[in-house]
């Protein structure tokens, strides 16, 4: 029992800083969608992605705009362990009758890849359709491009033939503009 506790402590000490060490700090910050190089949004005018990494937790904040409407939603994933996210946000194609159900949680796993320059997030997201409920497996890779000024998000759906590719440009730290 004592040995087991000691092992957990050692393991924890190893893992905890790993979350911090394994994240490339260049991910942090506000990224603005480059619409010309991205898959066309549908029902959104534009968006920013704000990434903040703290230990193993990665906060992916979506600042969305549709005409004069602004929506902010954060998915907090963790590269150390799976999480369940209530009101999981996906960049939805809003002209499809696919809705986020009320009071459902979405299981989400996350991990660092490619020498910590890629964050992979996998979500099993339940959605409401005209026939009831269905599960959409969403695999998202956030790839930090060379030079750290471009972030590419490639999103695959288990239900969609084509990937959704969103290219973001990093904003200067003192740029407080909203999309």
């Amino acid at each position: 029992m004592m040995r087991s506790t000691f092992s957990k402590v050692v393991l924890g000490l190893l893992i905890l800083p790993m979350g911090l060490l394994m994240a490339d700090p260049a991910f942090n910050g506000r990224w603005r969608l480059d619409k010309a190089r991205s898959t066309a949004l549908d029902g959104w005018t534009t968006m920013d992605l704000v990434v903040s990494i703290e230990a193993g937790e990665v906060a992916l904040q979506h600042d969305m705009r549709w005409r004069s409407t602004r929506v902010t939603a954060v998915n907090r994933v963790n590269t150390n362990h799976p999480v369940e996210i209530r009101d999981f946000f996906r960049i939805d194609q809003r002209h499809m009758a696919v809705y986020r159900p009320v009071d459902k949680v979405t299981p989400v796993t996350a991990m660092w890849l490619d020498e910590e320059r890629t964050l992979r997030v996998e979500a099993h997201h339940e959605v409401e359709t005209s026939q009831g409920f269905a599960t959409m497996r969403i695999t998202s890779e956030y790839r930090l491009e060379e030079g750290d000024e471009t972030l590419t998000l490639i999103e695959l759906h288990s239900t969609r033939d084509r990937p959704l590719v969103y290219v973001f440009r990093k904003l200067a730290p003192d740029d407080t503009s909203k999309p």
Binding site: R67, H95, A134
Partner: protein, 550 residues
């Protein structure tokens, strides 16, 4: 028998409502002389607007007693049918048009219809609407300062001058003054919400109609944040007679379509737009041609029973008043399409409806809408007015040989996204009001109100095709819906927004997965009645609402 009986009544009602002499309308079938002008697309306040405002006001006066002046707009104008309709008048009503090229010649021909002129101030936007109101009441053409010499050359004298009267005043202050001065003399059955484009360019192409009918013009906001304007707006609506019609369109940038239509619907008034819908003062004076009867392209009998197979059924619908900007585009007729008809054009533009029916292909199917005998949001129509309005809609649908009612309530939506659903109370009212339809469709953007009672399904749009969305993404979207809705049959109702290219849709259809079939809307609804694979759902109290209402 009932149809014929109603047709006669409708035509007579149309004659009365339009103020046309039935004898004149009858004579039109034997040919008449009229004049036509061709407009360009320059509606800039600093460019072509002043002259167009003059000509449109002249049109309203010239067409008071008889249809004399018609305006053809370029194919790129939002209402692209003005030229085909012009040809229709020549061909079917034997109108012998003489072209007038310049404003000077138009005044030469029609200045006797005016008693004078009123001067508006291009620096004060609302003054144009005040001038239009005066124009209707005083039989005056509307001019900017620069055009005074032109109208005086034709013997017209100044009746009123708005230059300086409203300088520095807010729109609320200007319209408060206008109400005080003119409202008591204006129509109480119809009003002109002359909004739409604002600022650098404006398109008041519907002003001829408002002037002819002596309506009050305004562009007051329906936004609760614009309390002064909303209060004035309400004071006007409070004064209108029951079942009135609000012509025009909401003012862009001041409020939203959702707010404006919600407000009007809460009074049980019908909306008839847009602000740039031209030639109503001319169109209203023609009846249907002798012997004409609406015959829709039904693909199934009203009482037919069909059985759905294990496949995906798609059906395409164009709303927006027979798809503003689409009817004359290439590709129509290649696949089945349902077209939402603005039903009260039976009263204001019979020839336009006859033109649409005459030029329909076997794949074009007409449906009633939008929500009733005009554009309305049913969730906000007072319960005691709802049956009267829908009885009117039912009669118009019978006249137009339509069996499907399209419903749209965007009061809680955010443009073409968001909540476009109906609570169960509204659904109940429709089922009670329309026992003879074969079904209902709902939404504008996607929606999730669905039901099936006896043989009448209510199906909402599962997809809205944004005309700017790349076709490969449209294909991917539709294929994703097909995957997510894995039970067969799957009924996939698609709203095709105005200006979508039909040919590109054919390519999309060819790239869909699985056994799919595009069917006419009446077939689609019959099949949807045979096997209910969709979930019954109504708007829920906790569904998100963008505009909470008043």
């Amino acid at each position: 028998m009932r149809l014929r009986h109603f047709s006669v009544i409708a035509l007579l009602l149309g004659s009365v409502a339009c103020g046309r002499d039935p004898a004149v309308a009858e004579a039109s079938h034997e040919g008449r002389q009229a004049w036509v002008m061709n407009f360009d697309l320059d509606w800039d306040v600093a460019g072509g607007l002043p002259e167009k405002a003059l000509l449109i006001s002249l049109q309203g006066l010239a067409n008071r007693e008889a249809p004399q002046l018609y305006i053809v707009h370029p194919p790129d104008f939002q209402w692209e049918i003005t030229e085909p309709l012009y040809e229709f008048y020549e061909r079917k009503h034997h109108v012998d048009f003489t072209e007038i090229e310049r404003a000077d010649a138009a005044l030469e021909q029609f200045s006797s219809a005016a008693k004078g002129y009123v001067v508006w101030d291009p620096g004060v936007g609302a003054s144009l609407n005040v001038a239009f109101t005066i124009g209707g009441l005083e039989d005056a053409v509307v001019v900017s300062e620069a055009l005074i010499p032109l109208v005086e050359k034709h013997g017209l004298t100044m009746i009123d001058d708005l230059r300086g009267r409203y300088t520095g005043m807010s729109d609320a202050e200007i319209y408060a003054d206008s109400i005080e001065r003119y409202w008591s003399r204006c129509s109480r059955d119809r009003i002109m919400l002359m909004g739409g484009h604002r600022g650098r360019a404006r398109q008041p192409a519907m002003a001829d109609w408002g002037i002819r009918e002596r309506m009050f013009f305004h562009d007051l906001s329906a936004d609760p944040d614009e309390a002064d304007e909303l209060a004035l707006n309400r004071s006007l609506l409070d004064d209108l007679n029951p079942m009135s019609i609000v012509f025009g369109w909401h003012p862009y940038g001041k409020d939203t379509e959702e707010q404006s239509t919600t407000l009007l619907s809460s009074y049980g008034y019908k909306m008839e737009g847009l602000h740039n819908l031209p030639n109503l003062s001319f169109n209203c004076q023609f009846t249907f041609t002798p012997g004409f009867k609406f015959t829709n392209n039904h693909s199934v009998d009203r009482d037919a029973v069909l059985q759905a197979e294990e496949k995906v059924y798609l059906s395409f619908v164009q709303s927006d008043s027979i798809g503003i900007g689409v009817w004359t585009k290439p590709g129509r007729g290649k696949i089945p399409f349902a077209w939402q008809v603005t039903m009260n054009w039976t009263e204001f533009s019979p020839a336009a409806l006859e033109y649409f029916h005459e030029s329909a292909t076997p794949n074009d199917y007409f449906i009633g809408g939008l929500s009733g005998p005009g554009y309305m949001y049913p969730n906000h129509i007072p319960a005691d007015v709802f049956p009267k309005l829908m009885a009117q809609a039912g009669e118009l649908m019978e006249l137009l040989d339509e069996r499907v009612m399209e419903i749209m309530d965007n009061s809680a939506a955010d443009g073409n996204v968001g909540n476009a659903d109906l609570p169960v109370e509204t659904v109940d009212r429709y089922y009670e009001a329309f026992p003879d339809v074969i079904g209902f469709i709902n939404g504008y953007g996607p929606a999730r109100t669905r039901d099936l009672r006896d043989t009448r399904p209510m199906i909402s749009y599962d997809y809205y095709i944004d005309p700017k969305r790349p076709r490969e993404e449209v294909t991917a979207d539709l294929n994703e819906l097909i995957r997510l809705n894995s039970r067969r049959p799957y009924f996939l109702l698609v709203h095709v927004r105005e200006s979508n290219d039909v040919n590109s849709l054919i390519e999309v259809i060819g790239n869909l997965h699985g056994p799919t079939e595009v069917v006419p809307l009446d077939v689609f609804l019959k099949l949807a009645a045979s096997k209910k694979t969709y979930q019954t759902r109504y708007q829920q109290p906790d569904d998100p609402k963008h505009f909470k209402g008043y």
